[in-house]
């Protein structure tokens, strides 16, 4: 599909068109933090930012999501019988999503949707109804390491459109059919603009100097990595909090709980995290991952060994660097993976 050009003075019209029949969200500066917010018009669009503190996975997999409701009254008609929550009514568009986050959603697709049975209706519904318009990273952060985990600052996987900021205009890379529809009517890109975008991509990729090595991680058997001595030191200062998992765009573990109040009842799912001892605790009191070391190891093994083994080499990490920035005790995933690889 031919790439397009969107002049910055045309952004208003583009956003307005996007908003027809859709809710549009984009990163915005609220207080001193960059957070995902509803986008009213192109004026509110933030172009100079690194990334949001929390990933956009919440749009597809909300931290708290009501899955079904029931009448908590055995005598009522259909009482105690679970009824699914309605699907998303209005389609959405996420504008200026970073390529790493879009890639993360594609990785999660492989987990949430596998076959007839493993087919998360809630995730699928929101994914199908959401248009992803990426904003390529021209200035990756020092904590970014996307290029070493199957991703990159101008990566296109998972996106419908990718905007590359060329100064006074964007090169609009058309990636999907849905994207083509959203970009219909925009002028086609010229060769010079394509070249400029390619240069920006090469420059951005070159800025990412720290990364992780995966060759030995891939080559080694599970038990060799599992029993490696490195975990004794990695786990030492870990607090077993949920910061890394909750800010991570690919962490997807959840808990399901029932709640009642009077005659209302619901089944709700909440993000959960493998760092919690409760996560794996059996009713009998036996805990398969009973120590902090087991739990810390699980997180890294899951992302960098188990997911690649099961999902055709896709890694459960896109190198966004959020956990590196937010971990209260600076457990740097790059250091850990390089030790696994070392």
């Amino acid at each position: 599909m031919a790439n397009k050009i969107l002049a910055k003075d045309q952004l208003g019209a583009f956003v307005d068109k996007l908003k027809a029949g859709r809710e549009v969200f984009a990163p915005a500066l609220v207080g001193d933090k960059v957070v995902w917010s509803p986008l009213d018009s192109a004026e509110g669009l933030l172009l100079d930012f690194s990334n949001t503190d929390l990933s956009p996975k919440d749009f597809f997999f909300p931290q708290t999501e009501c899955m079904m409701r029931f009448a908590n009254d055995a005598k009522a008609p259909d009482g105690m019988i679970m009824q699914a929550e309605p699907e998303l009514k209005t389609p959405r568009a996420l504008m200026n999503i970073r390529p790493c986050d879009a890639k993360a959603m594609q990785v999660l697709d492989l987990i949430f949707i596998q076959d007839q049975m493993t087919n998360d209706a809630y995730w699928r519904d929101k994914r199908e109804k959401t248009l992803l318009i990426g904003l390529a990273c021209n200035d990756p952060c020092p904590t970014c390491f996307c290029t070493s985990v199957n991703c990159g600052p101008h990566h296109e996987v998972g996106l419908d459109l990718l905007l590359v900021d060329l100064g006074d205009r964007f090169l609009v890379k058309v990636i999907s059919q849905r994207g083509a529809e959203a970009a219909a009517g925009l002028p086609e890109a010229g060769a010079a603009e394509e070249v400029q975008a390619a240069e920006l991509k090469a420059k951005a990729e070159a800025m990412i100097t720290e990364g992780v090595g995966m060759d030995n991680v891939n080559a080694r058997e599970v038990m060799e990595l599992y029993e490696a001595p490195l975990w004794d030191r990695v786990q030492e200062n870990c607090l077993n909090c949920g910061t890394c998992t909750f800010c991570c765009p690919t962490c997807h573990c959840f808990d399901i709980q029932d709640e009642v109040q009077g005659t209302d009842g619901r089944r709700v799912r909440n993000w959960d995290y493998c760092m919690s001892w409760l996560f794996t605790m059996h009713g009998t009191g036996h805990n398969p991952r009973g120590t902090k070391k087991d739990r810390v190891r699980q997180r890294f093994m899951h992302k960098f060994k188990y997911i690649p083994m099961k999902r055709g080499g896709e890694i459960g990490c896109v190198g966004c660097g959020r956990c590196v920035q937010l971990c209260p005790v600076n457990i740097d995933v790059r250091r850990v993976v390089n030790q696994m690889n070392g």
Partner: protein, 279 residues
């Protein structure tokens, strides 16, 4: 496409307290919509999430066999929020069932072979399902000798006594039921499952062993099979871990890369030997 988190509504048809300590209770469940019963096509070894609205879900092995009709049997140990509530429910109450989940015992692949079944405590549930399925006239001829080894703490803790007694009497299977210590009125075998297994000494030739029991039983039974010359590929075990989604997403039941709920709960010893012991 169906939302696989929504349980099928079922009604409790019958209940029975199974053991002397009243910790184990069986529930026969009947689908409220006949179409759901058809959709719920299962094989022995699979499990389901029992859903009690307002309390939550628990993963429980299916104790009935599809050869017994469309009603489902579950035997539930009383340990947590959901199972405690379930024990207080009675015939006629409405609840939910989600599944069938997980893989099953390799019965198809074991055709023409001798089958050794080893069960400990209330883990006998899915193996009851297996036995009923194997002894069904449509299936029995496809298999060689069937050896059933089952142990519990006391005679009062044994499940499904009528059934294994009838298997014994029919001569269709070699049934060995044991209790841990001598008890008044008990004339059968006495001793732990591993030592009884050693006495029975099933031969590894053209055979497969299906084992389900508490971790301590599994731990001590495995070496017995090793000693008797069984290969890791012939030993099949069923695991359990804490679960929520039951369909391989929520992330808590995994043992290495394998999800017990989706890739399991049935694994061969050969598979498990390559995985962390996080179960």
């Amino acid at each position: 496409m169906r939302n696989t988190y929504i349980p099928y509504p079922v009604r409790i048809k019958d209940t029975r307290v199974e053991t002397e300590d009243k910790q184990l209770k069986s529930f026969w469940l009947e689908f409220m919509n006949p179409a759901d019963a058809d959709a719920f096509a299962y094989t022995p070894g699979q499990f389901a999430e029992l859903s009690v609205s307002g309390y939550g879900e628990i993963p429980i092995g299916i104790a009935s066999s599809p050869t017994e009709g469309q009603d489902l049997l579950f035997t539930v140990n009383k340990v947590g929020v959901v199972s405690n509530r379930l024990h207080n429910m009675k015939a006629g109450d409405v609840m939910g069932v989600r599944g069938p989940l997980g893989n099953s015992y390799p019965l198809k692949a074991s055709e023409g072979k001798n089958i050794v079944i080893v069960a400990g405590g209330f883990a006998v549930t899915t193996l009851r399902s297996t036995m009923i399925w194997l002894l069904d006239p449509a299936n029995r001829a496809k298999y060689g000798e069937i050896t059933f080894i089952y142990g519990a703490r006391t005679p009062g803790m044994l499940l499904y006594t009528d059934e294994w007694t009838s298997w014994q009497q029919s001569g269709q299977a070699n049934v060995n039921v044991t209790i841990d210590r001598e008890a008044p009125g008990w004339t059968g075998l006495v001793g732990f499952v591993p030592s009884v297994t050693e006495q029975v000494a099933p031969k590894p030739d053209n055979a497969v062993a299906l084992i389900c029991g508490p971790p301590v039983m599994i731990k001590f039974t495995q070496p017995v099979f090793d000693k008797l010359g069984w290969k890791p590929e012939q030993i099949v075990m069923s695991l359990e871990n804490r679960m929520k989604c039951g369909i391989g997403i929520c992330g808590r039941c995994n043992v290495g890369p394998e999800y017990v709920c989706k890739d399991g709960p049935v694994f061969t010893k050969a598979q498990l030997d390559k995985l962390p012991r996080e179960y």
